[in-house]
Symmetry: C4
Subunit: 365 residues, 4 copies
């Protein structure tokens, strides 16, 4: 599609006037097969598309006489102030798109006072990224069948200063993206700096899913041993959400893995309201899936999220302009969120949920 | 798209047989970047498209035995007879498309016995337009942070003979159209004949929106000082509408600024019925957004409007054939409205609302 | 689109295996501008498209254990047996597409034992068509402002042997098809063999509609003077339908004039069930609009019609293969109807209405 | 579309990574006209498309904390264990696409421990196929007007070892596919190894449908004489389903013949839940129509099926790679089913029905 792959820019590209523009620009800066892998989802990419379509179906209600004195995008998470209800999602193998990899992402996030969630499959060492992540960071712990190895990884992250731990629970069942396969993408070996133990031996689908799954026991164990709050990423069913709360974990991340695991499952945004309904107003819910701008962030807040994780846009901005791109992306998101909050008379991210911000057009609901 | 830009016609173009045809013809008479700016909305132009789609989703119910004796498109607004429930919306910078600018628009409107609403950002002086607007005109007052300057502008318009004042309240938050940006449109400096004071100093999104917003105090003040009825343009939320009524203003104009301010907000037509419902039958509601013909005018009346404002078609007709184009456009709208009223057995614009004119197809609502 | 216009065939074209195929073939046998006029509707042809879309939204329920002994497409109308619940709709100016014109249509209809409804704007004299229409015919009487002229036309049709009279009531308001205008179609002068009196003098839209309309008084008068049952064509509103029944007319024809009069009004098929609901089971309701095959005929019966009128397909078949084409079209319709009746376990056209034949897919209603 | 038709492969094609890929590859291995016939449906192929669209409208709900211990795709049918709730549907004339024909299909099915349903219109003798079908097979008995001939065919199948009998009841009314006709497909004569008696003499649509139909008497007779359980294929209406149960037949196969008989009837998947509702939980319901992968199999189980029949994919896999292709297809289906069961926390095919697996997106139901 793109004849030549461009090196990352040293400055902010003039073409980028909205957060979503990094998605438009990214294919010029990423090798085609790699882009197919990163941009793709699972199977025929239906859930990937539904994640976006779910946002497109709702519309915002404008308010013109809202009182904006004191309005702010700022919020608090784990007792820590955030400039906006946005974190960087754990994205694996960032070295695929930029030499600075997770370290540059951390620098960009730090410049925007934003925590990142470091993937277990990072291409840089935890300590190296931690040193750059001066605005804080969380650690995504990929649990294995080897509790000792898991514990060692946890302790290492704690020592490096992670503020919270994220366990991804929806990665056991995986159907690869047909687009990425067609593009001929293969993961280079040895990419991850500190890879977690792999499942060993040829196993059946059910055995692989059962052994690869993160069950309640594992979560209960992690809650016991972890010195940090534990979040569960990959919850889209009310019953699963209730289990997390019953285990007294810190919160859930409503996510279908960006449509990357099992094509055909429902859109993240579509399931968010019912997850909030069963968990009640006080439990922490983060959200992930299809966010491409501040407008989507506000919609997610209105539908029940406390904050939002940014996945693909993060890696696109990194590819286009390194740390500067990531910082710029976060600034654009915050300005867009502010604009949409102002337009809807919403003074803070908490207020978004109580207000009546979203509407579906007549004849479509 | 169009190789050469044509000069305005001296007569009515034969190709124009419906009001909507001016939209088809306009690109030939307007510089491409300017057309992109005028025709565009905000962001990705979704709200712009939804404004039209909302009309397309409803269908009219034909009546064949309606009694048409005495039927007429004529109505009354502010105690003044109108040939049809149509006014010309405030459209800025008309000098961009025709040398005659707002003066020619006023001549065309006068020829069709139609009032226009003169924009604060007109390219001609108020008095010059007022002299041409022999069928009456309203003044759009863009409030600033400088009350004295605002008052001076108001008094000048009153002296020039404006029949009412329109305050636009939805222009504080603005997201530019990506299409207009891509087309490279930039507003020439010094276009406005009498520009209102601008917000000074670099300000944040919220500060800009807060300081640029027209609040209740400003409206209460305006109601006190204005010698003319005050209408509020840009109301799409029931709560905002109720505030206008509580302030005893003359009426509201349901409008999302033609989709030009914040992309993603709901279609004007979709919110009209609920605004009418909360304001009751007697309060004056004008409507704006997506009207492209007499059929749309009738649908807006049926959905709750007392009259309709014409924005883009106005500027297109001006570009194509100057004052004659504007007059012709208004004549076509009136004939189309009459035809659709006759076809639906509707004898007057007030009757439109009580009749059961609109239907949604089964399986779509 | 089609380089050369072909002369009518002398035999049945092999390509035609379904009634709808005549629509595919017709453009090869009709001058392009004429085809644009015949195939087109009104305005932007939305109602024309909706007439078809309304059929497409419903699906049939198959029955496999229905008892088909004695099953038949035959029905009775005005006490007269019909081979199927199908009549030929009044279509004006048939000489535009075939030299045999209405006479050939009548021959084809007669060969299929089917009555036709002769248009007031026929290109052949009533008596000439009547002589060919040995399976019976009805007369479409276009009422004018001249009762004496109307009465003379009625008496002439009665003398010629018409079995019923059809008054079209939805032709007063007319918006031409933009497609036909763009194609440059103009009606040749002097086409009609016996044109009814025209409205005289320049009149406004409302005056034209009011004077051109067929009101209750005119219908009451016609019912008095007519020696034949009177049907009203162009009813799509429940209130209009009730007026026809109150006037003790023989029946209504639910029709929006094939989408040819006022673009934007609802689809005929969508309004049929509510018309049946208000008129009750015994009153005669014919249907018109969007029928392209026996499947549609069955759907119309299921939705409340007693019989169906065929308009555009009739003229297409005439253009392609004259009288033979018309006869063949009617045969295909009957075979298709039989197939769909058999597939749905429906033994007769009356049974269609009581059965539960139609379903809308979940998620679309 | 495809320049050259390729001979069947001797091994598994590398391009096939999902069951649905056999549909993509098949056109390269089947003569174009034959492919048009096999892939096509009836009429304009609307029901064919709806069969797929019905699956696409529902989405799966992911579960991450489901207990997968003991999970399995295995099920039981007629007291016989199956590796997955999948059988091969009766597909006629398999010799059209591969020299091995039904014998190769049987070999592939046997390799995957899967029963096939042998068509009455097979191109190989019953005994020959039976010998290859070591995992069991059922016989599709096409009833004729000649009971003795039917009984002889039944006895022959019983002697050959069929485990059950399937009577297709929806083949009396048939509307050919326009696509297949346009492609010029004609069935070579003498294809079937043991063709059942044909209807004799020129008959009307109703007579053909009535005489070709399989009525209650025929089913009651068959139930009496058959030494094997009898299934009825082609049930889509609740009333028909209830008749089958009242006749104490072994089960129904919800199917619209893959959209091949009467275009315009509802999608199989859309009618499945109401058939299950009227038959209750214990009655055996198989399903057929639009299944292209393990995800669809799970959806069908969730919507009420006990097992699923695979038609077109079967013949495609046979065309591409003979017996090996069929075995590979069944393996892929099983792995896909396992993956989707694991992802939704579903431990067995019976559990699928009680779980709350399916959801429709808001704004579409």
């Amino acid at each position: 599609m793109h004849d030549t792959q461009r090196p990352p820019l040293a400055g902010i590209p003039a073409e980028v006037i909205a957060a979503a523009d990094y998605e438009v620009l990214a294919p010029h800066f990423i090798a085609p097969a790699t882009f197919a892998y990163l941009a793709g989802g699972s199977g025929a990419d239906r859930t990937l598309a539904w994640n976006r379509a779910a946002f497109a179906r709702v519309r915002l209600r404008q308010r013109v006489f809202g009182e904006l004195t004191g309005a702010s995008t700022a919020t608090t998470l784990l007792g820590r102030p955030l400039p906006q209800p946005v974190l960087l999602a754990p994205v694996a193998y960032q070295g695929l798109v930029h030499a600075g990899a997770e370290v540059d992402t951390a620098r960009g996030a730090a410049a925007a006072d934003t925590p990142l969630i470091l993937s277990s499959l990072a291409t840089r060492a935890v300590e190296e990224v931690a040193a750059a992540a001066t605005a804080g960071w969380w650690y995504q712990l990929r649990l294995s069948e080897d509790r000792e190895a898991d514990l060692a990884r946890l302790r290492r992250a704690e020592r490096a200063g992670c503020a919270a731990v994220v366990v991804t629970v929806d990665a056991a069942a995986q159907l690869p993206s047909r687009g990425a396969l067609a593009a001929g993408f293969t993961l280079p070996s040895g990419l991850a700096a500190d890879p977690p133990p792999l499942l060993q031996g040829p196993v059946s689908v059910f055995e692989r899913c059962r052994r690869g799954a993160v069950g309640r026991d594992a979560l209960a164990w992690l809650r016991e041993v972890s010195a940090r709050p534990v979040f569960v990423k990959g919850v889209t069913h009310e019953a699963d959400a209730e289990i997390c709360r019953a285990l007294e974990l810190a919160g859930v991340i409503v996510s279908n893995h960006g449509g990357r695991t099992v094509d055909g499952v429902a859109a993240s945004f579509d399931v968010l309201p019912s997850i909030r309904a069963v968990l009640g107003d006080a439990y922490t819910i983060l959200f992930d899936g299809g966010v491409r701008g501040g407008e989507d962030v506000l919609k997610a807040l209105a539908a029940g999220a406390d904050a939002v994780l940014i996945g693909r846009l993060q890696i696109y901005a990194l590819a286009v302009a390194g740390a500067l791109g990531v910082a710029h992306l976060l600034k654009l998101l915050r300005e867009e969120l502010a604009l949409y909050m102002a337009a809807t008379g919403c003074t803070g991210s908490a207020a978004a949920r109580s207000a009546d911000l979203l509407v579906r057009p007549p004849g479509e609901d």
